[in-house]
C-alpha cells in the first residue's frame, strides 16, 4: 500500500532533513551503533570490505596508553557531528535506508572538517598505505565491529589494536586541533598531495572490496570531503597527544570489545568502559554542541542496522529502538491526520485518536445505513454491451456520469464531506462488467424505488447509467442534468 511508500519516503526525508542539521548528535550516535548493530545481521559485503583493511591495519593494543586525552573522543564525535562541511549531510543523506552503519559512519567520518595541523604533525610517517588504513579504520571505528567480529573471529588482535590506536591518535589530534576553536580549517599544503593519493588509494581499495553502495559512499566522501578525509588521515599520522583519554578509551574499548570478544580481552571490562565512556560522550557532545551551532537533529535511519541517538539523549539500544518506534507511530499518526477530515488542527495523540475512532465509527455506521438503503434499491444490470460501449465512447470525455459526481452533489448525512470520485477505468473493463452482469442477471424485474412503471426501455438507460457511474473520470464535472434528461427520453 502506499503507506509503505509514504513511510519509507517519510523516513528518508526525515533522515535527510536530520542530516542536513547534522550535529555532533550524529557523531555521538554512531558510536553506539555497535550495540545497536549487535542485533543486526552482519552485512557480508560491508563486513568483507571492513575485513581487509582491518586485517592489514594494526589494532589497538589491549593496554590503553594513558596518554589518551579525554577530549579525544569528544572531538571525534564533535568533529564528526559539528562538521561544517555540508558534505556530511549529503553523504549521509544519500545513504539509502538500511545501509550498514559502516557506510554511514565512514561517510561521516570522512566528512569531518579539515583541521589545522600544527607543525608537529609532519613527523608522522607519511606512509600512504598506513594513512589509508588508519583513515579507513577511523571511519570504521564506530561501525560494524560486531559484523567484523562475526566474520573474522580468528583475526589477530595485535594488528587491529595498533590500527585503532593510530586512529585514536588521529582522532585525538583532530580533537586537539579543533578545540583550538577553528572550525573551518584548511589542510596544510604538505598533506595535500598525500591526501589526494590517499583518497585515490582509498577509493581503489574500497571499490575493490566493497559493494556498489559502499563505493557510492566513497564517492560521496571524496566529493568535496577531501579535507575531512585528510584530516582524519593526517590526525592519524599525527603524533599521539594527550587528548580525550576517555573517548579514546571508549573507542579502543569498543573496538576491542567488538573485535576481540573472542580474544583474551575481557569483554566485561570493555563493556563497563563503554558504559562509562558513553556517558562521557554524551556529556562531551552536549558540551560541544554549542560549537556546532546546529540543531539537535536525529539521523535515525530506518532499518534494523543503525539508529542514531539524538544528541544529549539516552543512546542505549532500547532507547534507540523506542525512538524509532515512536517516530514510526508519529509518522502514521500524521498520515491518519491527513486521511481523517477535519483533523489538521487537532493536536495531540489522544484527541487525534478520538477523532480517528469517531471517524471509523461514522464510516461503519454509514456503511450500515447505506446498505439498508440499498436493500430497497436493486440496480438493473441488464444491458447491452454495444450500447454501453457506444455510450462510453461518446461520454468518455463528454460528460461522464460518475458516482462521485452524484456524491459530491448530495450532502452526506454526516459531517464529513465526500471525497474525490472514483478513479479511471478502461473501456475494456466495462465490457467485462457488462458481460458479468449480463451473466449474473438474466432477467430482473426492476424494483428500484421511485420507478412506478418499470419497462425494458427503462432498463437500458438505467444500466448504462450504472456503467457510466463506473466510468471513472473524476476530473470531469458531474453532469446530473444529462442523467435526468436521459430517462426522459425513454418515457414510457
Amino acid at each position: 500500500m502506499e503507506m509503505n511508500e509514504d513511510r519509507k519516503f517519510g523516513l528518508e526525508k526525515s533522515h535527510g532533513d536530520h542530516l542536513n542539521n547534522h550535529s555532533s548528535g550524529v557523531s555521538a550516535d554512531w558510536q553506539f551503533n555497535t550495540p545497536a548493530m549487535s542485533a543486526a545481521p552482519p552485512h557480508p559485503s560491508t563486513a568483507a570490505s571492513l575485513v581487509p583493511p582491518l586485517t592489514s591495519s594494526p589494532l589497538l593494543s589491549a593496554p590503553v596508553p594513558e596518554a589518551f586525552v579525554p577530549g579525544l573522543w569528544n572531538y571525534h564525535t564533535m568533529s564528526v557531528g559539528g562538521s561544517n562541511i555540508q558534505n556530511t549531510t549529503s553523504a549521509i543523506g544519500s545513504i539509502p535506508i538500511g545501509r550498514p552503519v559502516a557506510m554511514s559512519s565512514k561517510g561521516m567520518l570522512l566528512s569531518t572538517p579539515p583541521v589545522i595541523f600544527p607543525p608537529s604533525l609532519p613527523h608522522f610517517p607519511a606512509d600512504s598505505g598506513f594513512i589509508e588504513r588508519a583513515a579507513r579504520f577511523s571511519c570504521l571505528s564506530g561501525s560494524s565491529f560486531m559484523d567484523m567480529n562475526l566474520l573474522r573471529p580468528s583475526q589477530s588482535v595485535a594488528p587491529a589494536r595498533k590500527a585503532s590506536k593510530v586512529v585514536m591518535e588521529t582522532q585525538v589530534q583532530n580533537t586537539e586541533l579543533s578545540m583550538t576553536g577553528d572550525k573551518a580549517v584548511s589542510l596544510p599544503a604538505a598533506y595535500g598531495s598525500i591526501d589526494q593519493s590517499r583518497m585515490d588509494t582509498q577509493r581503489d581499495r574500497r571499490s575493490s572490496h566493497i559493494s556498489n553502495s559502499e563505493s557510492q559512499e566513497t564517492n560521496f566522501c571524496e566529493g568535496g570531503q577531501e579535507g575531512n578525509v585528510d584530516s582524519s588521515d593526517v590526525a592519524g599520522n599525527s603524533s599521539p597527544s594527550d587528548l580525550g583519554a576517555n573517548k579514546r578509551k571508549r573507542t579502543i574499548r569498543d573496538m576491542e570489545k567488538d573485535q576481540v570478544q573472542r580474544g583474551p580481552q575481557s569483554s566485561s571490562e570493555a563493556t563497563k568502559d563503554d558504559t562509562e565512556t558513553k556517558h562521557k560522550v554524551e556529556q562531551n557532545s552536549s558540551k560541544h554542541g554549542g560549537k556546532n551551532g546546529k540543531d539537535n537533529s536525529e539521523a535515525a535511519k530506518e532499518g534494523y542496522v543503525h539508529v542514531r541517538a539524538r544528541r544529549g539523549q539516552a543512546t542505549n539500544s532500547h532507547s534507540l529502538a523506542e525512538r524509532v518506534r515512536r517516530e514510526k507511530i508519529s509518522e502514521r499518526m500524521k498520515y491518519l491526520q491527513e486521511l481523517v477530515p477535519g483533523c489538521s488542527k487537532v493536536t495531540g495523540k489522544a484527541v487525534m485518536l478520538d477523532e480517528i475512532i469517531n471517524y471509523v465509527q461514522s464510516l461503519q455506521r454509514q456503511v450500515e445505513f447505506l446498505s439498508m438503503k440499498l436493500s430497497a434499491v436493486n440496480p438493473q444490470l441488464d444491458f447491452s454491451v454495444e450500447r454501453l460501449l457506444a455510450k462510453n465512447l461518446r461520454h468518455s470525455h463528454g460528460s461522464p456520469l460518475s458516482i462521485a459526481g452524484f456524491s459530491q452533489e448530495m450532502s452526506y448525512p454526516q459531517v464529513y464531506p465526500s471525497q474525490q470520485g472514483l478513479g479511471h477505468a478502461g473501456g475494456s473493463t466495462m465490457v467485462n462488467l457488462s458481460d458479468t452482469y449480463r451473466r449474473t442477471m438474466n432477467t430482473q424485474l426492476p424494483t428500484m424505488s421511485g420507478y412506478k412503471e418499470p419497462s425494458m426501455q427503462m432498463h437500458n438507460p438505467w444500466n448504462e447509467e450504472i456503467i457510466m457511474q463506473m466510468d471513472y473520470d473524476a476530473n470531469h464535472p458531474p453532469n446530473a442534468q444529462e442523467i435526468n434528461r436521459k430517462p426522459d427520453g425513454f418515457t414510457i
Partner: protein, 147 residues
C-alpha cells in the same frame, strides 16, 4: 454468501497503490445484485445485513490479502458465513483505552501492535471511504430517477 465474492478471482494485484475503486465497484455491484436476487423481498433487514456483509467482503477483496484488516474481514466472513453474523461493530465507548477501542473497530486489530494498528487503520479508512462513496453513489443515482 461467500460465493458471490469467492468467484471474484484474484484479489487486488496492486496492493501498494491502494484498493482499486473500479474493482470495488465491480465486486460490490455484483454482490448487490446477487443479494437482491437471492433474498426474498420480505426480509428487508436480512437483505440489509447481507448487503452490509457484501460491502465489507467486496472491500476486503479489493484491498487484497496484503492487509491485515482485509484478511481478518475475509476470515470472519468465511467462518461465520453459516451463522449469518454481521460484521461486528462494537462500540468503542466501553473501552477506556483508545488503542483498545481502535482495535475493536478495525477488523483484526486485536492481534496487532500499536504501530501496525495505525497503519491498518489508515488503509481501512481509505477503503471504507471508498465503499461509502460507492454506496452513496448508487443510492443517489437510484433515487435521482424518481418521478
Amino acid at each position: 454468501m461467500d460465493s458471490k465474492n469467492s468467484a471474484c478471482g484474484n484479489p487486488n494485484p496492486n496492493p501498494t497503490l491502494g484498493p482499486s475503486k473500479l474493482m470495488l465497484a465491480f465486486r460490490f455491484l455484483r454482490a448487490l445484485s446477487l443479494v437482491h436476487r437471492t433474498t426474498p423481498a420480505s426480509s428487508r433487514t436480512c437483505r440489509g445485513r447481507r448487503i452490509e456483509r457484501a460491502a465489507y467482503a467486496s472491500m476486503a477483496y479489493s484491498a487484497g490479502t496484503g492487509r491485515g484488516w482485509s484478511r481478518a474481514v475475509l476470515r470472519r466472513l468465511h467462518h461465520r458465513a453459516r451463522r449469518r453474523a454481521v460484521a461486528p461493530r462494537r462500540l468503542s465507548t466501553t473501552a477506556g483505552n483508545r488503542a483498545e477501542a481502535l482495535r475493536q473497530l478495525v477488523p483484526g486489530g486485536a492481534g496487532m501492535d500499536y504501530c501496525t494498528l495505525l497503519e491498518e487503520t489508515a488503509d481501512y479508512i481509505k477503503c471504507l471511504t471508498m465503499q461509502v462513496e460507492l454506496m452513496q453513489g448508487i443510492v443517489d443515482s437510484s433515487s435521482s430517477y424518481g418521478p
